[in-house]
């Protein structure tokens, strides 16, 4: 569709309803952080020196960076061929989509637990092969396991980017004498930079925030140290400092990513519609491609489900506690998803319809809230609650609010994409036909946002259901969820008890991923 050369974009007054939630969200994110800083400043200078300048701290930093780097590399290594196959080959797209997104249903620590339960003496593989397989542990164990369950983030970003690549660029390169591989690497790869940096950032954020998986696999990072300090030590100041340092590290990464993306000129110039990328028939390579996709799917989804199934059958029927844990998860994840999407809608609408420095800043703040490792955020919320509203401390309400604020960013992406499909022109047409502004929004725009709303709900629900950090630190005493149970049992190597909870989580997760895949097809 060609739009006329319009005069400068209209600077309409923004209805105050739109920025208001953004202000609330920003307050909700920064206020706890302020209290975290206050708490940390209570430390004695001697302890400060001990914490910040100690060799232990250097070791933690090194470990953490190494893990982030390794995980990002591993994720892209796994995701890139898959994304290429999905967009550019004639492999059935459903297969690649499933392999690329289903692992999201499996929390990384459940994956770690599954691999632990599969290996070692008494493990599933021993039962199958007759020989004990060595347990994954340490750096390589953690990197491989995390990559295996975090690669969907890389996959989704790469796939979107590859889909958006204009085939006529490659064709121009070919006409100018470049062979197929050269044409690809010169014209397509550079366009993947934003996806690489955005996807890489996302993977790194998750790797940095993880304490459960690395705990199970015996690898020390900042997050695992924070958790140890918080739960074991009486003095929380050390934990506060570790949290601050971790936040500093993440902020540095955010800044770095922004630098990389800034100034990239990749939008298509020229008129006419862009064609979809051409799919190459694989021919004899088909079998290798199938093997790769199926192998990956097996490793990331098949193996955990099989192992958990095996342990559940072995166990003495421990489904008793499941109902309680399941209820706990639902009581947390459902309101969190609804609140997050409810807050994300006005923020995204504001940002898309009335773009300004303020609205961009709001989105950055929301993303920052997401990037902050959940343990650090939970700690900040605790300090904040204890000082300002002690009655809220350890209530479900606080947990739901904290989780909504933290995962809000996940709802913005799909809403934003859906809003672009519902241009303001449609609302203007409705206005000219007699509908007031709110009426026009509800009758015209909202129905078109449905896939985006559902996708946002599914994503936040999934993240809240998988969450351990916020739940462990903020939930009311005695409150339990599937996540807490799985991790608790797995940490104590009570694999049979953990199995049904793990399977229930995967089931919930698979349902959410199913909704996600459906909404995508609806667009």
């Amino acid at each position: 569709m060609q739009a006329a050369a319009r005069e400068a974009p209209p600077r309409k007054p923004v209805p105050w309803l739109l920025p208001a939630p953004a202000v609330l969200v920003a307050a909700g994110i920064f206020a706890p952080l302020a209290y975290l800083i206050l708490r940390a400043l209570e430390a004695e200078p001697s302890m400060l020196r001990e914490v910040v300048l100690s060799p232990r701290n250097a070791l933690l930093l090194w470990n953490t960076l190494l893990l982030a780097g390794g995980t990002v590399g591993g994720s892209f290594l796994l995701a890139f061929p898959l994304a290429l196959l999905d967009v550019r080959s004639d492999l059935p797209p459903l297969l690649t989509t499933l392999v690329g997104t289903l692992p999201l249903a499996i929390p990384e620590y459940v994956g770690a637990y599954a691999f632990l339960a599969a290996t070692g003496p008494g493990g599933t593989l021993e039962a199958v092969l007759g020989v004990p397989v060595p347990r994954p542990s340490g750096y390589w164990g953690a990197t491989v396991v995390l990559s295996l369950f975090l690669y969907p983030y890389a996959f989704l970003n790469l796939r979107t980017a590859l889909r958006g690549v204009d085939p006529s660029l490659e064709e121009s390169a070919r006409s100018l004498g470049y062979g197929p591989w050269m044409a690809f690497s010169r014209s397509v790869l550079p366009q993947l930079k934003p996806a690489l940096s955005a996807g890489g950032l996302l993977v790194a954020i998750h790797a940095l925030g993880d304490f459960a998986t690395v705990g199970l696999l015996r690898y020390e990072t900042y997050s695992s140290a924070i958790y140890l300090q918080y739960s074991a030590a009486f003095d929380r100041t050390y934990a506060a400092w570790l949290a601050l340092l971790l936040i500093g590290l993440v902020t540095g990464m955010l800044w770095g990513e922004a630098r990389v993306v800034r100034g990239l000129r990749l939008a298509r110039t020229g008129i006419g519609a862009q064609r979809a990328p051409r799919r190459t028939p694989l021919g004899p390579w088909r079998w290798a491609a199938y093997g790769y996709a199926l192998g990956l799917g097996l490793a990331s989804v098949g193996v955990p489900v099989a192992v958990l199934g095996h342990w559940m059958l072995r166990g003495p029927g421990t489904e008793a506690g499941i109902a309680e844990a399941l209820t706990g998860t639902l009581r947390l994840a459902t309101p969190t998803a609804l609140l997050a999407v409810g807050l994300a809608l006005p923020i995204t609408y504001w940002s898309v319809r009335y773009p300004s420095t303020a609205s961009t800043a709001a989105e950055r703040v929301v993303y920052f809230g997401y990037a902050i490792p959940p343990l650090a955020f939970a700690l900040a919320v605790i300090f904040f609650a204890l000082r300002t509203a002690p009655a809220l401390y350890q209530t479900l309400l606080l947990l739901v609010v904290a989780a909504s604020l933290h995962f809000l960013s996940e709802a913005i992406g799909p809403l934003r994409a859906a809003l672009y499909q519902a241009p303001p022109r449609l609302e203007e047409a409705a206005r000219s036909l007699g509908y007031g502004p709110l009426s026009a929004f509800f009758r015209v725009t909202l129905p078109l946002l449905r896939p985006g709303l559902l996708a946002g709900l599914a994503l936040v629900f999934l993240s809240a259901a998988k969450d351990l950090a916020l739940t462990t630190l903020l939930s009311p005493p005695g409150y339990t969820t599937l996540a807490v149970r799985v991790w608790g049992y797995a940490s104590d190597a009570m694999f049979e008890r953990a199995a049904p909870h793990g399977l229930a989580m995967i089931g919930l997760g698979a349902a959410a991923v199913g909704v996600l895949i459906q909404t995508e097809r609806a667009r």
Binding site: A3, A4, A8, L433, L448
Partner: protein, 348 residues
């Protein structure tokens, strides 16, 4: 000059609209008479779409007043778009993708009784020739069909005023020509007042009762197409509408002396330097081996050709000739004015 007894549908009075430091519309004063089809014509960025949006109420003016059928809608009062009784047709149609054609058309009929609404929808779809498409979705229709649905949707609630923002620009040339005729038939047939925006001259000539020429936010002239063509009020309009050559001349003894002969003076003081606007059809091109002019270029236009002829002074003149005489570049010619009536602009 119109008599004051003709009713005014839309009146803009000294309307100004700024975007940042840019004045998209400057002190615009314009009247659209009831029942007329007025076309706003101008190059991109001239402010015509902004003007339309101001009349629709989708933008608020920074200064000035807008009246619709005698009622102030912008200025001392503000009436929102949904209460102005207008029909809007956008360049990209803006059909609701989640509704069928019939539902799109019925969208503005909120509050009508079901039977009446259905009858009206059928009536209007029949008017635009799309009765069989009532159950389809917009994405199943071609560009021309979508455009007609957009028109039907705008007309269904029987608005007082129809606003059209370059609705034909997204159609290919052949379809455009056909739709123009259809559009005029439908609009004039319903007696509605209409304001149509375009940058295409041919379109303006084919559709308009009157044309308003805009550039850089200012209205330069309003009048019937013939008026604009033969009696442009200023050099911009003369240049913008149709082909024009500007021939330098000087006033001498109550006549204007030019390279191509003498033209009647029009009362300007002795010695004034002027420019004469000549349309290609105002000059007769005659091959003459002793002629002063040399053919420099030829533009084949089918039924006729346009020739660029260089005069001894260096001025380039455009003249037209029927196709039976194709003249190659380099031919010497003389140019004879067909009549001695010309539009004169004093040189600033």
């Amino acid at each position: 000059m119109r008599e004051n007894s003709v009713a005014v549908g839309v009146r803009l009075h000294n309307v100004t609209k700024r975007y940042g430091s840019v004045e998209a519309v400057r002190n615009l004063t314009l009247e659209v008479y009831e029942g007329e089809l007025l076309v706003l014509l101008g190059p991109s960025g001239c402010g015509k779409t902004t003007t339309l949006r101001l009349v629709a109420g989708l933008e608020r003016p920074d200064a000035g007043e807008i009246e619709l059928f005698g009622q102030v809608v912008s200025g001392s009062r503000w009436v929102p778009p949904e209460a102005r009784g207008i029909g809007l047709v956008f360049q990209d149609y803006a059909l609701f993708p989640h509704l069928r054609v019939a539902e799109n058309v019925a969208f503005g009929l909120r509050g009508w009784r079901r039977r009446q609404a259905m009858e009206r929808v059928a009536e209007v779809l029949d008017l635009v020739g799309l009765s069989e498409c009532a159950d389809r979705y917009p994405h199943e229709l071609s560009g021309g069909e979508q455009q007609r649905v957009a028109l039907a949707r705008a007309l269904a609630p029987r608005p007082r005023l129809l606003l059209l923002d370059e609705p034909l620009s997204n159609l290919d040339a052949e379809l455009r020509k056909r739709m123009r005729a259809e559009l005029r038939r439908i609009v004039k047939g319903s007696g509605i007042t209409a304001l149509f925006v375009t940058h295409d001259q041919q379109e303006a000539f084919a559709l308009a009762d009157r044309i308003g020429v805009l550039s850089r936010g200012r209205l330069w002239q309003v009048g019937a197409p013939e008026e604009l063509y033969h009696a442009p009020a200023c050099r911009f309009v003369a240049d913008f509408i149709g082909e024009a050559t500007f021939l330098p001349g000087r006033v001498e003894a109550h006549a204007i002396l030019t390279e191509l002969g003498r033209f009647p003076g029009n009362g300007l003081p002795e010695g004034t330097r002027v420019e004469l606007m000549l349309r290609p059809s105002d000059l007769r091109l005659v091959p003459d081996p002793e002629g002063p002019g040399v053919v420099v270029d030829r533009h084949f236009r089918g039924a006729e050709s346009l020739y660029d002829v260089r005069l001894p002074s260096g001025v380039l003149v455009r003249a037209s000739l029927g196709e039976s005489q194709g003249l190659p570049p380099g031919t010497r010619v003389r140019l004879e004015p067909v009549s001695h009536r010309a539009v004169v602009f004093p040189v600033e």
